[in-house]
């Protein structure tokens, strides 16, 4: 699988993403990174969930990326269930990367191979 990374400047948003228990200063909210890979594990936990995605580099090595989102109840409100990202699911996922270069990011949106989109920030909508 080819690693695809798209980086671009985005408008700064003061959103409630990554709100639960820490500041978001470790993420670069002016940059988005997009990778395509296969779900390794969906850690559906408080105070934050982590979607771990194995991304195969062009040289064949595999990097596990972690995408952070809110905890289970907020993901449920966003319509993101644990079963939506079973291990082996192919996904293209976008996030604000960590400033220190580690392969982790704040989950902004994800598109599964079947075309279904998932935006964890929808979990803060009141309905």
């Amino acid at each position: 699988m080819t690693r695809k990374i798209l980086i671009g400047a985005i408008a700064g948003l003061l959103t409630a993403a990554a709100f639960a228990h820490h500041s978001a200063v470790m993420f670069d909210d002016q940059t988005e990174i997009t990778v395509t890979g296969v779900v390794k594990e969906f850690q559906y936990t408080n105070p934050h969930s982590w979607l771990l995605v194995d991304v195969t580099e062009e040289d064949g090595t595999v990097t596990t990326w972690g995408f952070e989102a809110e905890g289970p109840s907020t993901l449920m409100r966003a319509g993101i269930r644990r079963s939506d990202f079973a291990p082996g699911t192919k996904v293209t996922i976008t996030g604000n990367p960590m400033r220190d270069g580690r392969p982790a990011a704040l989950w902004v949106r994800a598109v599964r191979e079947d075309g279904k989109e998932f935006d964890p920030r929808e979990g803060f909508a009141i309905r």
Binding site: G12, L14, A16, F19, A20, H21, H22, S23, V25, M26, D29, Q30, K40, Q43, T45, N46, P47, H48, W50, L52, T63, T64, W65, G66, E68, G71, P72, S73, T74, M76, R77, M98, D100, G101, R102, P103, A104, F124, I126, R127
Partner: protein, 317 residues
């Protein structure tokens, strides 16, 4: 251009957005973001707080107005069932605070300085929240946390629950008073007593720990006391009128109206679960030497991926 005060720089930085101090000087030349004037109703509530010198005075006033207050019986319990969440952004204490403006509290010089210095640090990317060490929010910050809430009413007690850190406030409505002052000590949720005025729950809370209203909001001292009036204004809307008294931090009580909305939950999928803050090692957050937040080592990547200054970090308290 004149030399900017810290307040001018911070206000200008707020107008620039999150990573802002670099453009503060430029923004200072622009018109300031509009501060919303209180509505007549809000001003009446603000004045009500000012007219009473202490939180206890205001609570006693409400009690006198209610003829001493009611104790509920099981056949007269208001229906506060459901899953609720706060309506406003979690980043503001006062829902009327507009983007690019400072919090609406009337702060003492010391607490205004603390706020401005905090906001200046955040604008430089330096921010650490005690929640990161898995502390609860505690009262009064409890009022503005996001996530799911339940309100459980019984004749003797009402439990106000926020799922984050399993924080439960017990409001005693059986006529008991606060513990004697000599036995009082700071509590995360404080000590709350209350009475019913019809379907309105009136609460007095004292014995809280010092803390912050929210990350981008002022601090409060250990002397903070809160009066709340809770009632349901519609089937899906809960109102809490809140007056905060805190002489070291506030030159006058800080009145706000907090609104909570009932979430649709037809399939019953939303359920409050036990919140274990440290169950996932990937959520461990540390405070760096410069005072900002960072993740500890992840389980899914090598420690070698960490930046060179990793050994300079210290564990969060």
């Amino acid at each position: 251009m004149h030399s900017l005060s810290l307040r001018e720089k911070v206000v200008a930085g707020l107008a620039c957005g999150a990573a802002a101090m670099a453009c503060a000087a430029l923004a200072a030349a622009q018109p300031a973001a509009a501060v919303v004037e209180p509505s007549a109703e809000k001003q009446r509530m603000i004045d009500l707080g000012i007219e009473h010198g202490t939180a206890w005075d205001l609570y006693r006033y409400f009690q006198e107005q209610a003829g001493g207050g009611d104790t509920l019986t099981w056949d007269r319990i208001p229906d506060w069932t459901g899953i609720w969440t706060r309506e406003a952004s979690p980043f503001v204490w006062d829902p009327d605070q507009t983007e690019g403006t400072l919090p609406t509290a009337k702060l003492t010089p010391e607490y205004e300085r603390r706020l401005l210095e905090k906001l200046a640090r955040v604008a430089q990317g330096i921010e650490y929240d005690p929640l990161s060490g898995c502390n609860p929010a505690g009262m009064p910050r409890w009022l503005v946390e996001p996530f799911l809430r339940e309100f459980v009413v019984t004749p003797q007690q009402t439990w106000l629950i926020n799922e984050m850190m399993n924080e439960v406030r017990r409001i005693y409505t059986d006529g008991r008073g606060h513990p004697p002052p000599e036995d009082a000590y700071p509590l995360w949720e404080g000590d709350s007593i209350g009475f019913w005025d019809g379907d309105r729950l009136v609460i007095h809370t004292s014995q809280m720990r010092e803390g912050q209203y929210q990350r981008l909001q002022p601090d409060y001292s250990e002397e903070v006391e809160v009066v709340e009036v809770w009632y349901k204004s519609a089937d899906d809307t809960m109102i809490a009128d809140v007056w905060v008294y805190d002489p070291p931090a506030l030159v006058e009580p800080w009145y706000t109206r907090q609104v909570y909305k009932k979430l649709s939950n037809d399939d019953k999928s939303l359920r409050i679960r036990y919140w274990h803050c440290s169950e996932n090692p990937n959520n461990i957050v540390i405070q760096t030497e410069e005072g900002t937040s960072d993740f500890a080592d992840f389980t899914f990547t090598d420690a070698d991926d960490r930046p060179a200054d990793a050994e300079n970090r210290r564990e969060a308290p």
